[in-house]
Amino acid sequence: MKIDRRLLLNFDWTLFALVLVISGIGLMNIFSTGYSLSGLRQTPLYLKQLQWIAMGLAIMVIAFSVDYRLIHRYAYVLYGVAVVLLVVVALYGYATRGSQRWIALGGFMLQPSELMKLALILALARYFDRHRSLQGYGLRELVTPLILVLVPFLLILRQPDLGTGLILLIIFLAMVVFSGVRWRSVLWFGAGGIALIPLAWFFLHDYQQERILTFFNPERDPLGSGYHIIQSMIAIGSGGLFGKGFLKGTQTQLKFLPEQQTDFVFSVFAEEWGLAGGLVLLILFLFLILWGLKISQRARDLSGTLIAFGITVMIFSEVFINIGMVTGILPVVGIPLPFFSYGGSSMVVLLTGIGLMLNISMRRFILHS
């Protein structure tokens, strides 16, 4: 498919720049986490992350070159592939730290649950685009979307990966509500959800239960499950207004802060750059999310609106939950900070999602053929 020159004129530089800036800061931050370990690792993490960004950008080009309507048409196929990959993970996946999330794919470790988020957004967009309802969806119409989300949700929860599962649920609920539901359905969902809470509790792994209990009282077990969050709050708080300076965060450099390249990457940033740095980052994310909503709002058609909306919700919820958990207002559920946490699959999937948003954004003026 040839790209129309007019499309390039409409390229959304703002979105692209925002993502690059956030990823750049993230990269610098990852450099800091690996700083005191230099010499011990094979390839420094920030270089690896740079490779992932490059790879993500390449896929992003594909994702905005191909008309999103074509991708939209194959949404269910993509969804199917993602589910199959999740099953493969469950059967043959690699486990690290007790959870089986990865499969090897041509030398890369792929985390299909990340891919699943995008696939679910596309599938749900496809469904809601196909089945429109001006007076809101009833329960019967929501059975299919519910199945669409529950199959991967349960597979991911089994890994176990509570965080990603949670994001799937949030995407689902947000897209359902956004598309319009009848009040009765909302009530049913609410009732069902509440009824499922105790059941879900037993379904959770011990360590997940532990984490939730710890959330309510971190000092309950300061050397065990509470350690992460206490050290994280110390890191953030000790950063103060302007931080300890780049590469000077003691919590980070002396490794008191665990998981600092992944889930607790924001704490590193907050320790070294303080409230000022944190505010800048929050504003960047705010812009990104509002811009995403704007793209969704201005999309040429409903499928574009839904896809852009889904991706924006995904980014927003991850930002909110991640920062919420490292600052101690939400339980530690293990969700990476978009564009910031180290992780190949997450970065590639996010950049692919941004590619789709660019796609939708620049095709908003194209008239239908």
């Binding site: 005191s36 309507r69 685009d129 429109r132 001006l134 956004f178 319009g180 300061p222 050397l223 350690y227 050290q231 709050m233 110390i234 890191a235 953030i236 708080g237 000790s238 950063g239 103060g240 207004l241 003691t250 919590q251 450099q253 002396l254 490794k255 008191f256 907050a270 320790e271 303080g274 409230l275 944190g278 505010l279 929050l282 994310f285 705010l286 999310i289 509002l290 909503l293 969704s296 709002q297 201005r298 999309a299 040429r300 058609d301 409903l302 499928s303 574009g304 609106t305 927003f316 930002v319 909110f320 920062i323 919420g324 600052t327 101690g328 207002i329 239908h368």
Partner: protein, 666 residues
């Protein structure tokens, strides 16, 4: 078809537009919540959390001061400081000491190394005080701890100076040893000491601990999550302790040690002119190097349960009936009180009857007509029974005390015993019984209640030798800085001058000369060609001691025979060396104890009369300290531990080792 229209598009007014507006607000509020939370953590709680991050990462590390050395009178080092690699646990709220220890113990077991440290019980453990788990750790174990550092949070290796007692058993009782401070000592003096400090526990190490120990330095170190030091933020250098120079002469000490080989007892050698203690020995001894590491319970048991009590310094803490060595005191009292003259004759038929009791002379067939001189030379008991009876218990006690008996001599050692010189009043107080005249007879020959320590006895004889001055025995000559500048001198201290006339002393000393140099003298074995030694033998019967406990213990002693004593000084004209020897259960003083003294005297004069030998010139004592330092064989001014530390476990330990020590002396 329907794909072409977008019901949510903003161009179409209504519900959908509203949804977007709601969304904008939701996102804004959500991110604002995050911002407020960050504000709370970073601004409101910022200071508190900063403190906690510093507690996390900044640790005060003690830089142990290098302990001062202990040198003999010629400047020869008697102790040395070596380097010890220790395993230390750095406590932290997020770590469990037991878990780390168990993990490491498991690792050790796999390589069949022993690791079983005593861990302070939970309550007594101070949260932020490092716990020294093991000292002088074998390098295999150190390497193990280093390689598994990440799995052993809080366990670090540290370098500390460790005492090495070069003189070993020979000087154990004088020098003593150091050990980790106990909780009681810590509570008594919390300002001066910290947990984990090494303090003197015994001997000079204890007595002069404030001088020897120096002042610990501190270093603020940034540590990482596993307790490894990363960089130094600031330090206060430790100040090395002062060196202590003793009056002890290693040469005489060693001679005494060799002479006492296999015997139980004590030897003290002193300069009667000023009270300098030239040698002090108690046998059996112990190896103070046992205490430098963590002393094992088995080793401790072996020492503590030994019936021969090797941990006791008999020279200052052993109390013995003086036996016949007490007779010169009785003679002095009688002469001074004019109760006898040198010509007074007592007839000895081998026994003395007092009331309904008969007291025997050691010479069963009797000495016949005996005057003071013969009585001293042949140690006639009956003569002194009679003289003692005339003098009486209280007057005897007065003269004994004038010569320093029955009271601590003030020697610079902890735990000196007082001995006992009885009086009527004492007995009334102690036993609520009047004094029996018969008891005076016993004490007149140094038995009964009489108890003296070897150093007291020697001090009394030194007074007889020097014209009546009772000096305070001094082990320590001076305290000096590491580079030899004097800090404190210990000049002779005249405790008292006995009110005994020169004429009386002359009479007594003539007798003492006869003991050694007249054929019938009880110490004739000791005579030298120069005929320059004066002395007195003694045999102390070890029965009838007041304390039940002691009596029980000494019952065994009786079975093994009496204690042999010998006290002497030389040369007789102008005494410069005085010696007291006691051999427990050695039998007769002349045969068991005198030969020991003989060897010391021979050694003393052999060296004195020999042409000045290069290795250890006695001159060194007289010249200024700075010059003396040059004659020290490399050991004294530059302790070993200040040399660059060569770590067996390579990189991670060495820099810390360097930090743990002050700069080498200029």
């Amino acid at each position: 078809m329907s794909m072409n229209s977008n019901p949510l598009n903003s161009h179409e007014p209504g519900e959908f537009r509203q949804r977007f507006q709601t969304l904008f607000v939701v996102v804004f509020i959500a991110l604002s919540i995050l911002f407020v939370r960050m504000w709370y953590l970073q601004v409101i709680k910022g200071e508190e959390l900063r403190q906690r991050s510093e507690n996390n990462s900044v640790r005060m590390r003690k830089l142990p001061a290098l302990r001062g050395l202990i040198l003999d009178t010629n400047g020869m080092a008697l102790v040395d400081n070596q380097t010890s690699f220790d395993l230390v646990f750095i406590p932290d709220r997020s770590r469990d000491i037991r878990e780390t220890i168990d993990k490491f113990a498991a690792l050790c077991r796999k390589r069949s190394l022993a690791f079983a440290p005593d861990v302070p019980p939970k309550g007594r453990q101070r949260t932020f005080q490092p716990v020294r788990l093991e000292r002088n750790v074998a390098w295999e174990k150190l390497a193990l701890a280093e390689t598994h550092a990440l799995e052993l949070p809080g366990l670090i290796t540290e370098v500390s100076p460790v005492r090495q007692y070069l003189a070993g058993e020979v000087m154990a009782h004088v020098i003593g040893y150091i050990g980790e401070i106990g909780p009681e000592e810590l509570e008594r003096n919390p300002a001066a000491y910290a947990m984990g400090d090494m303090v003197g526990k015994f001997g000079i190490e204890k007595y002069l601990d404030p001088y020897l120990r120096g002042t610990n330095g501190f270093e603020q170190v940034e540590v990482n999550a596993v307790g490894k030091g990363v960089r130094s933020l600031g330090r206060i250098d430790p100040v090395s302790g002062y060196n202590v120079v003793l009056n002890i002469d290693s040469y005489l000490q060693k001679t005494a040690w060799d002479a006492m080989a296999g015997r139980t007892g004590a030897v003290v050698v002193m300069d009667p002119r000023d009270g300098a203690v030239l040698a002090m020995l108690s046998t059996p001894s112990f190896d103070p190097n046992l205490f430098t590491g963590k002393v094992t319970l088995a080793d401790w048991r072996k020492l503590a349960d030994n019936r021969l009590r090797p941990m006791e310094n008999r020279a200052a803490s052993g109390q013995y009936p003086p036996g016949s060595t007490y007779k010169p005191v009785v003679a002095a009292a009688a002469l001074e009180q004019k109760l006898i003259t040198p010509e007074t004759i007592v007839y000895c038929n081998g026994s003395f009857v007092m009331g309904n009791r008969t007291f025997r002379c050691w010479q069963k067939k009797g000495h016949g007509r005996v005057n003071l001189h013969r009585a001293l030379v042949e140690s006639c008991d009956v003569f002194f029974y009679e003289v003692g009876r005339r003098v009486g218990v209280d007057t005897l006690a007065r003269y004994a005390r004038e010569l320093g008996l029955g009271a601590p001599t003030g020697v610079d050692l902890p735990r000196e015993k007082a001995g006992l010189i009885p009086t009527r009043e004492w007995k009334l107080k102690r036993f609520r019984q009047p004094w029996h005249p018969g008891e005076t007879i016993s004490i007149a020959i140094g038995q009964g209640y009489d108890l003296v320590t070897p150093i007291q006895l020697l001090n009394a004889y030194a007074a007889l030798a020097n014209g009546g001055t009772v000096w305070q025995p001094r082990l320590v000559k001076r305290i000096e800085t590491q580079d030899g500048k004097p800090v404190k001198r210990f000049p002779p201290v005249r405790r008292s001058v006995a009110s005994i006339s020169a004429e009386t002393l002359k009479q007594i000393n003539r007798g003492l000369w006869g003991v050694v140099n007249e054929p019938r003298g009880t110490g004739y074995v000791l005579r030298r060609r120069e005929a320059d030694v004066s002395g007195k033998t003694g045999t102390s019967q070890v029965v009838g001691l007041p304390q039940d406990e002691k009596a029980r213990r000494l019952k065994q002693a009786v079975a093994q025979g009496d204690h042999a004593l010998f006290v002497c000084f030389a040369p007789d004209k102008a005494p410069e060396i005085a010696i007291a020897v006691i051999v427990e259960h050695g039998g007769h003083g002349g045969s068991a104890a005198a030969p020991v003294a003989r060897r010391i005297i021979d050694a003393y004069f052999a060296r004195k009369n020999a042409p000045p030998a290069p290795p250890r010139p006695v001159v060194a004592t007289a010249v200024p300290a700075g010059t003396a330092a040059g004659s020290r064989p490399g050991t004294a001014p530059t302790p070993t531990a200040t040399r660059p530390v060569v770590s067996p476990t390579d990189r991670p330990v060495a820099p810390r080792g360097a930090n743990a020590h002050p700069e080498p002396n200029p």
